[in-house]
Point group: C2
Chain length 222, copies 2
DNA sequence: CCGAGTGTCTACCACTTGGTAAGTGAAGCG
DNA sequence: CGCTTCACTTACCAAGTGGTAGACACTCGG
């Protein structure tokens, strides 16, 4: 019932906003991308159908295919937007942070905030890494600058003797897995008897930081 | 061509083995479960179709549905088998291990061996935790004894002062995420420039153990 | 006011999905 | 022998899947 047919705006009434005709298209595309990100990131790519996506938007599937030539192309666009969001978020978080360990803390805080407020972003990363190439390659490329900076940071900290010496790339993967896991693996947490709640999440973040700190920071030569 | 029609055994020739008629059914079901585990664990549940699964087995889809009333039921059966395998593998690994940290090492070694030899097992765990209930509940229930033992182990080590004191459940999740991530997240590893190879895997395991050891073991009061 | 272009819709399409109904052949049992 | 049961098949089906073709409405530059 009326999933299509312009239920959003009264028939014939086209809103006249600055930008005019072309702006409506971009606005629709924005909504498409937002809904697709939500669905891909939480339900998964295969489990999301264009029909159902269109239904949620009050639009027909063909409108989606007008803006993105195929489902795969839509995923690419979603990835681009999501990775841009991620980079921006982390840049923002790091802008205010001081040097050294503070930066790690800022990043972890940022991830936990994302896990609460925009779980679909982290979900998409997981989903795409599961899907493999070519989608995963795209994510990797988009995040490459961030990854490189992170690796350089770790290397510098190790050189300065503030972090335990080892392969920065491997440490990065370990830390990544740990953080993303603790922040997002709801089912695993439930399995060990941790129900999701705001209070519990704060505790979890604190414990995770302690875990990471022990794992990374060089033993002080007292 | 000839995906169906008993291409496996010459028409009319029914193998007369001890066990006879009823044993053939169990054998087919074994092959079904093995193929389903493989596909669910590597390609994913939704990305696996019964038709294609049947094709690989040289059997019709209806044969699968004869043994398992639905795709979901098949997943349940696969989960039961996989979790039993996992439990057996880890029990075996722990049987020979000594006390304390040696047990963690034995477990990590075990996970890495699985990642190389039976990646579909670990893949299924990831996949199911992604799918959520009711499948994830089943995994959780099946692995509950193991989880409980692990938590008790951690608690005991902390009590004995050999491990850094903190919430055993949270430490378990952290360690779980780290180990499974480093062992199985091929795409993430590729993203930081680590191509999968046997040599690299050994190095990865050693570094991971160092990472875990720093994270978990209590600082010796020297 | 006209023609081009943009954004969206209706109407299809070929194909695949999980699942049902009904049957077939062989083995086991009285 | 006939009857049942087991293992499996052929033949379908309704409901989706991603994707194409073509029309319609509406806006804007000329």
């Amino acid at each position: 019932m009326a999933t299509s047919g312009g239920a959003g705006t009264p028939a014939g009434t086209t809103i006249e906003r600055p930008g005019g005709r072309a702006a409506r298209g971009r606005e629709t595309d924005d909504r498409i991308l937002a809904a697709a990100l939500q669905s891909f990131g939480t339900k998964g790519y295969e489990a999301t159908s264009l029909d159902q996506l269109a239904g949620e938007l009050g639009v027909t599937k063909q409108t989606i295919l007008y803006h993105h030539s195929s489902k795969a192309a839509l995923l690419d666009a979603v990835i681009d937007r999501a990775t841009a969001d991620l980079t921006a978020t982390f840049d923002e978080a790091l802008r205010g942070a001081g040097p050294g360990w503070e930066r790690v803390e800022a990043l972890v805080r940022s991830v936990f905030r994302l896990a609460l407020r925009r779980p679909e972003l982290l979900g998409l990363v997981r989903e795409v890494s599961r899907l493999g190439a070519p989608a995963s390659t795209r994510v990797a490329e988009n995040l490459e600058p961030m990854v490189r900076r992170a690796r350089a940071f770790l290397a510098a900290e190790m050189d300065a003797g503030r972090m335990r010496r080892s392969d920065p790339a491997l440490v990065l993967v370990s830390a990544y897995s740990t953080v993303l896991g603790v922040a997002t693996e709801v089912e695993v947490l439930r399995a060990v008897g941790i129900e999701p709640s705001l209070r519990a999440t704060v505790v979890r973040r604190r414990e995770l930081l302690a875990f990471l700190r022990s794992a990374l920071v060089a033993p002080t030569p007292s």
